[in-house]
């Protein structure tokens, strides 16, 4: 029986473990290690931030999410030693493996933007999403500035989603005429890919949201309530919501296996850590030039689970990860758009906002816990 060690029990680690455990129940002994015993449905943070969901609805005990044969260990990993095939836990316990899957995700790097930590609201953690809702529900009038802060951040569409949902929220509350909303982007358009950006820009125009482009956030002056760009511009705000800069997990820095931002170099198709054939990385933890999202972690984890299964069975077949992503962009007004892309097809048209995509997004809130985390699809 082969020992499979999974460091990190987020989307990637959980989907990988469940999928492989089901496919090869007699061939593998799988252990998942994570410092937290709670798993969060991270796309739900958006809905918490506008008061449409809650901590209870988007959290589950991690141990309940695994197939019975999988062991879950709550512990913090201190160091990963790839050459000696060892994972060292805080406290000194050492774990060995035949295959290692690293799914350590990303962490917020507040220090990258001076003033961010103390003056910017966001919803990239559950605590911060709850704080943001408290700000939004008590907001009466003024300037709301939303946009891209850190340039490496999880989920590229999240800033767009919150700006549309906030517009919706203030309209429902009857105070939209007392609120100015601006959307910041360091690019020449609100969103990177050109065709979906066109749809987003048209919707912003319809909803009186002003795009402010070529605005690369340099720092935030909390005393004067101004956000200042590297291009030399500044904007006053009463409520500032920006994507925080992200970096790799501390354990990746401690282990010396990442690049300068802590992302692990991997093969873009097979996800093995470069230089190793028994170690894989999935999800946010990799250095791949694609968004850091749950859907990508999902497809990567499935590819790695299937390829280890083929390896164990002694067959030559291998699956290839092609950078596939499918993202539903929530836009308020019971509408959502969507975008499909992979490594080779990046300029797909954005999908026209529709109710069916909005319903698909809501359906995800439920099927996530069963079909997706279970590794069935």
């Amino acid at each position: 029986m082969k020992k499979i060690l999974v460091v990190g029990g987020g989307d990637g680690g959980t989907i990988f473990a469940n999928r492989l455990a089901r496919r090869a129940p007699k061939e593998v002994d799988i252990e998942v290690i994570d410092k937290s015993d709670i798993h969060y449905y991270q796309p739900g943070f958006l809905f918490v931030a506008i008061g449409e969901s809650s901590r209870e609805k988007i959290s589950k005990k991690r141990a309940k999410l695994y197939t019975k044969s999988i062991r879950f260990t709550q512990a913090e990993v201190e160091k990963i030693d790839l050459d000696d095939r060892r994972v060292i836990l805080k406290g000194g316990e050492v774990k060995s493996y035949d295959y290692l899957v690293i799914s350590t995700g990303s962490t917020i790097n507040y220090d990258d933007i001076p003033g961010f930590r103390d003056s910017v609201n966001h919803f990239w953690t559950l605590d911060e999403a709850e704080k943001l809702y408290n700000r939004i529900k008590d907001f009466k009038s003024g300037n709301v500035v939303v946009g891209i802060g850190g340039l490496t951040y999880k989920c590229p569409v999240a800033p767009l989603e919150i700006v549309f949902l906030i517009d919706d929220y203030f309209r429902a509350k009857g105070i939209r005429d007392k609120v100015n909303i601006k959307f910041l982007s360091p690019l020449e358009r609100p969103y990177g890919p050109k065709l979906p950006s066109k749809i987003m820009t048209e919707e912003m125009k319809k909803r009186d949201i002003e795009p402010v482009t070529f605005f690369t956030v340099d720092r935030v002056d909390a005393d004067r309530k101004k956000v200042i760009s590297m291009e030399g511009d500044s904007l006053s705000y009463d409520l500032l919501i920006l994507s925080p800069p992200h970096k790799g997990a501390d354990v990746i820095f401690n282990s010396g296996i990442g690049d300068e931002e802590g992302w692990i170099p991997v093969d873009k198709h097979y996800l093995n850590v470069k230089g190793y054939d028994d170690v894989f990385a999935v999800g946010d933890s990799t250095n791949l030039p694609i968004p850091k999202t749950g859907v990508i972690a999902h497809f990567e984890a499935s590819t790695v689970a299937d390829n280890i299964y083929y390896d164990l069975m002694g067959v030559e077949r291998r699956g290839i990860f092609d950078g596939q992503s499918f993202c539903i962009i929530e836009m308020g007004r019971a509408l959502a758009s969507g975008q499909v892309s992979n490594y080779y097809y990046t300029e797909s048209p954005g999908l026209i906002p529709s109710r069916i995509l909005h319903l698909a997004k809501l359906a995800m809130n439920t099927i996530y816990w069963t079909c997706i985390l279970g590794g069935y699809i």
């Binding site: 990177g192 590297m230 291009e231 030039p289």
Partner: protein
């Protein structure tokens, strides 16, 4: 003419839009006035993007050359 030596090189080959421009902006965040950033990219949309960025930000494009499918641009940081 003497070759201009870049102080920072950004390899954005293989990245699709907006990857190359985002990589450039990341380098720009860390650069000082006077630095020359060299950026290599293969995304065909990069040329108009970088021209628009330089025009808006007031930084100087020293050159943009297409070298067999690889766009090589040299940017002098003149404004921060």
């Amino acid at each position: 003419m003497s070759e201009i030596k870049p102080s920072i090189t950004v390899d954005a080959r293989g990245l699709s839009c907006p990857g190359p421009l985002t990589s450039l902006i990341k380098a720009y965040r860390k650069a000082n006035v006077g630095d020359v950033i060299e950026i290599l990219a293969t995304d065909p949309g990069f040329k108009p993007d970088i021209e628009a960025w330089a025009k808006r930000t007031g930084n100087e494009i020293i050159s943009i050359v297409d070298e067999g499918g690889v766009i090589r641009a040299l940017i002098r940081v003149t404004k921060k």
